[in-house]
């Protein structure tokens, strides 16, 4: 079958993004020191991207799985919460 890019896959999902992010990097300076920057590859939807010497959070496509929360626990540099009620991903199949 035809291979879709991650962006194309995310177009298939239902999302109702909030105006503000439910995910927040606490201290960008810590990310600059971070050797692995595991958030930039562990996220299934590439929410965290290393751009211009800092992590940018593209929270709109977040699937709310929590992998980043577990992966960043040593630095504890991620303020993780669920989107507000009614926002975020809306699965049709699940």
């Amino acid at each position: 079958m035809k291979q879709l890019t991650l962006e194309q896959k995310l177009f298939l999902n239902g999302f109702r993004p909030d105006r503000e992010s439910h995910l927040r990097i606490i201290d960008q300076a810590k990310c600059r020191e971070c050797k692995l920057r595991q958030c930039t590859y562990i996220c299934p939807v590439n929410t965290y991207r290393w751009e211009n010497d800092q992590i940018t959070v593209f929270f709109e496509g977040c699937l709310e799985c929590g992998a980043c929360r577990i992966a960043c626990q040593e630095c504890k540099n991620l303020e993780w919460s669920y989107p507000r009620g009614g926002f975020g991903v809306n699965y049709r199949t699940g």
């Binding site: 079958m1 291979q3 879709l4 991650l6 896959k9 995310l10 298939l12 999902n13 692995l36 595991q38 590859y41 562990i42 996220c43 299934p44 939807v45 590439n46 699937l63 709310e64 799985c65 929590g66 992998a67 929360r69 577990i70 992966a71 626990q73 919460s81 669920y82 989107p83 507000r84 009620g85 009614g86 975020g88 991903v89 809306n90 699965y91 049709r92 199949t93 699940g94």
Partner: protein, 435 residues
């Protein structure tokens, strides 16, 4: 939203299989129950593989399988051991699995949980959706309610049941889960639901009507990391996914979507997907701590159930049935506490006892060392699968070499690659960890 200060007997946080089960049984017993769900409807945030087992589900809703939106009843279970270019396949099919009341079903969680939510409503519980629980309301040590993210959104109850899933922020805030889940005790799984015509699925998987097949895949399915891949047949789609421990994904620098695409392109997998169209892309964290991962299960006025309590048997891909049964146990404990008018940790501790006496707790005990074993023995996800597939290829290739010479070649090749005493230890260890 309910009126300010309204009191309930029970607040259930999360409309997944665990929370809905507890709510259903408690509402049936006449208690005043509210379920708080952060999604648009029960199921809209829920993800599983997913196979649902009939027997534990019937302990909550008898005869559910005659009415509920199910996909296919599973008649065949396949296990594949993959290397980059090969697949060793084992399969089991039994006629009894094709007969009512069936053993297990493929389900799409969003549809099933929506239906189950309706049953919970009909049983008399209130379901409040689009609402996030932010914290527990305490009176000393006693949990007496929850704050929601809404104005005047404080709700009060005798008992709060945390069924808020693997990330259970509530269990953490109340202090039932002391430490964060370690990266080697959580697996990240991603999945696609791929639409295919019904007849194509029947032909490809050699089933008729609503019969279905499951395939579990190992080794190269997860690039040799500890984890599994799976394919489950639905009515007119297939669920395909894979997952591995977060520790392993981080160590190897693997992106989950790349891993899934790698598996989808495997020469034994790709033909099953041909012509399919992806409908949805999903992700879910799976608690893999097993017995060691289970947090404190109850405190004054609160119980933790399902994924929030880390109740998953990863060896047998059983999660939703543990979730539902823990929901049932929680309901039993709450009903007893209600009768005694005592919602202290001691009274609710009956729930802990029911969990410890359950069959699935015995299973978790049996496999308590399995996770650590496989994590420290990557040979089972690389070397042995390769050996197996290469041995098969050697014996099946007709090339003028005698079969005895081929056997010798396989034997010496294995010994050259790994010391015999090491192989003996590997298999002894594996047997110890799963037997």
């Amino acid at each position: 939203m309910t009126e300010h200060g309204e009191r309930f007997d029970v607040i259930v946080v999360g409309a997944g299989p665990a929370g809905l089960s507890a709510a259903y049984l408690l509402a049936k017993a006449g208690l005043k129950v509210v379920v708080i769900e952060r999604g648009d409807f029960p199921g809209s945030k829920n993800v599983m593989g997913g196979i649902l087992y009939r027997q534990p589900t019937e302990e909550i809703i008898p005869d559910f399988w005659r009415k509920a939106p199910l996909e296919r009843h599973i008649v065949e279970t396949q296990t594949w051991v993959l290397t980059e270019k090969a697949a060793f396949k084992a399969a089991h099919r039994h006629e009894s699995f094709a007969q009512e009341p069936y053993n297990s079903f493929s389900v799409l969680r969003a549809r099933f949980d929506k239906w189950m939510g309706q049953q919970v409503r009909e049983a008399g519980a209130l379901i409040v959706s689009e609402t996030v629980v932010e914290n527990a309301i305490m009176d000393g040590d006693q949990v007496v309610g929850v704050n929601t993210g809404r104005p005047d959104g404080d709700l009060y109850a005798e008992v709060v049941i945390a069924a808020d899933g693997v990330n259970s922020l509530l269990a953490q805030k109340v202090g039932l889960r002391k430490k964060e889940i370690p990266t080697h005790e959580a697996a990240l799984a991603v999945k696609e639901v791929i639409a295919l015509p019904r007849e194509v699925i029947q032909d490809r998987f050699q089933v008729t009507g609503d019969q279905g097949v499951t395939i579990e895949m190992y080794a190269d399915a997860t690039w040799g990391m500890v984890g599994t891949g799976f394919i489950y047949t639905n009515k007119d789609s297939i669920s395909i996914g894979c997952g591995s421990l977060i520790s392993q994904l981080v160590e190897r620098g693997v992106t989950p979507n790349d891993l899934l695409e790698h598996m989808k392109s495997h020469p034994a997998v790709a033909p099953l997907l041909e012509g399919g169209e992806t409908r949805e892309y999903l992700a879910h964290l799976i608690p893999e701590g097993g017995l060691h991962g289970i947090p404190k299960l109850s405190t004054h006025g609160m119980l933790v159930i399902g994924d929030a309590a880390m109740l998953v048997n990863s060896m047998h891909r059983e999660g939703s049935n543990l979730a539902m049964l823990s929901g049932k146990f929680a309901a039993e404990a709450v009903l007893r506490a209600k009768e005694w008018k005592d919602f202290s940790a001691e009274a609710l501790g009956y729930y802990d006892q029911l969990i410890r006496d359950s069959f699935f707790y015995k299973d978790l005990y049996k496999y308590r060392n399995m996770g650590r074993f496989f994590e420290s023995h990557p040979t089972f996800f690389g070397f042995y699968p390769d050996l197996l597939n290469e041995a098969c290829r050697e014996m099946l290739t007709v090339d003028g070499v005698s079969k005895r010479s081929k056997q010798r070649r396989i034997f010496w090749d294995a010994l050259r690659r790994r010391m015999p005493w090491r192989m003996a230890l590997d298999f002894y260890g594996m047997w110890r960890s799963i037997a």
